[in-house]
């Protein structure tokens, strides 16, 4: 089982509790085996869909078939270490506004699974410590 988690806060939701990104073991295994395409393949798909949402046409939106196929046909980037895979996952599954710009405080942190509290009684009060 993978050992890392990513704790992050969304600048667009300042009142929300800190969020935790948990990778799947199958995806990590594939990433460490070298089965991923370049990250820009996912970025351009996300960008196309975000633009469709912003323009109010998400209900009829369909991905460009060629861009969609790149997920499977683009040359693989090669094996990643577990740390590199987590960094890749941050760029893929966490909104760019969290990691892609400067903030006046840290907005995300890579931690080990053991550092995430197991007691969820006060889960909705979790914040990312400075």
């Amino acid at each position: 089982m993978n050992q890392y988690r990513v704790i992050f806060e969304d600048p667009d939701q300042p009142e929300a509790p800190a969020m935790v990104l948990a990778p799947s073991d199958e995806w990590m295994e594939m990433a460490m085996a070298g089965g991923l395409p370049p990250i820009w393949v996912y970025w351009q798909l996300q960008q196309d869909e975000e633009q469709a949402i912003a323009e109010g046409r998400h209900e009829t939106f369909e991905h460009d078939p060629e861009k969609l196929a790149l997920q499977y046909t683009a040359p693989r980037i090669g094996p990643l270490t577990e740390e590199e895979a987590i960094e890749y996952l941050i760029m893929k599954d966490i909104p760019r506004r969290v990691w892609g710009k400067e903030h006046n405080r840290p907005m995300f942190k890579i931690v080990t699974k053991d550092q995430v509290p197991t007691d969820r009684q006060f889960r909705n009060a979790w914040r990312l410590a400075a």
Binding site: A22, D25, E26, R123
Partner: protein, 124 residues
């Protein structure tokens, strides 16, 4: 073991029903925010008690997929149910790359809860 790769599957006999395949699935421990197992799922985002977004490894062609889910709590008196969307709304992420589900206890939908087993299947 050999691998069968195809782009589409059609019935051999005209007039038969089409075949549809699952696009993603997961068995997830929401109480500990960890996967038991998954297929085409890269990660899950724990937003807080009873709120999770499941992120697909590879995007689907669009957001017109069907998602079904089942969930259970730790004991027989703690049944947990899930619904599509963010807590208290019909919104939340439902895109070609991710879907958000929320979970609550069966006695009161205001009582959000973390299921011990949350199963999700995506078909398109």
């Amino acid at each position: 073991m050999s691998t069968l790769k195809v782009n589409s599957i059609e019935p051999a006999n005209a007039g038969s029903e089409d075949y549809f395949v699952g696009k993603a699935w997961a068995k997830f421990n929401a109480a500990s925010a960890s996967f038991y197992a998954s297929g085409n799922m890269s990660s899950a985002t724990d937003h807080g008690v009873g709120q999770f977004t499941y992120n697909f490894s590879n995007a689907l062609a669009d957001a017109d997929f069907s998602v079904t889910q089942a969930a259970t709590g730790p004991v027989s008196t703690h049944h947990v149910h899930g619904y599509i969307g963010a807590r208290g709304s019909e919104g939340g992420t439902y895109s070609s790359t991710a879907v958000q589900l929320s979970y609550y206890r069966d006695e009161n939908s205001a009582n959000i809860a973390d299921p011990n087993k949350a199963c999700i299947q995506v078909m398109r």
